[in-house]
Symmetry: C2
Subunit: 125 residues, 2 copies
Amino acid sequence: MVKRFRTEEARLDTVFHALSDSTRRSILRDVCAEEKTVTAIAEPYNVSLAAVSKHLKVLERAGLVRREKRGSFQYVRTNAMPMKEAERWLAYYEKFWNQRLDALEQLLDDEDAQQSQKSSPKQSL
Amino acid sequence: MVKRFRTEEARLDTVFHALSDSTRRSILRDVCAEEKTVTAIAEPYNVSLAAVSKHLKVLERAGLVRREKRGSFQYVRTNAMPMKEAERWLAYYEKFWNQRLDALEQLLDDEDAQQSQKSSPKQSL
DNA sequence: AAAACATTCAACCAAATGGTTGACTCCGGA
DNA sequence: TCCGGAGTCAACCATTTGGTTGAATGTTTT
């Protein structure tokens, strides 16, 4: 199961993996409003700068952020498109989940009905 | 960074992690239309049953599927809610990405405008 | 030119991941 | 009651992950 490049599946692998760490999601949150330098990004977290650098590399390889070197700083900002792709994947299955949710709701309603029938059987009079 | 339970962040960790493997996404696809047994799920993939069992455990811990034991079979079906949660997370940031996309589009338009101005300066007459 | 800063790289470590195989449990049918 | 199928569990293995530290590479500032 070697992860080769460019296929949609492989891209989704890296995107979802990048999103699976709360520190990385938090970083994403931090940079989505405005671009920040690596040290500025690292500041709130009590991990080493190198660790943050690694997180950024993961996010970058997933295409979720982009870096731009200006002077001695590295400015990081969000990149929208891959996230869209992930969202599209989720959305595709939404109809199924909605069906399930509807079914669940139906089930709960039924149970409620049965319940209230048991506790106060006003239906039966 | 111990992963403790029940917090939204931890739940998102497990959901996104579950989605980060293409085999698991594929399994999810397989069971979202109709429930299936474990062996039926395993059939298309050339990995051991035990491996599939592990994948199912990951999906189950993320709350993405549910199992129901009927007789000697284990029926697996999708569970909608956690997926919704992930989608909500993505949707929250959508506005930012859209802003970025809009900005990008704007930038490209501007560049186009400048370009056409350079090649045929009709504005300046 | 040297000092100070921003960031990455390399080596290392512990824990988790995805896979295997073989033994084990549980259930239904002969 | 015993056999075979459905699944899980346990032990193991290689690879990846997320973290560390310390040295290395640029870039500004003095």
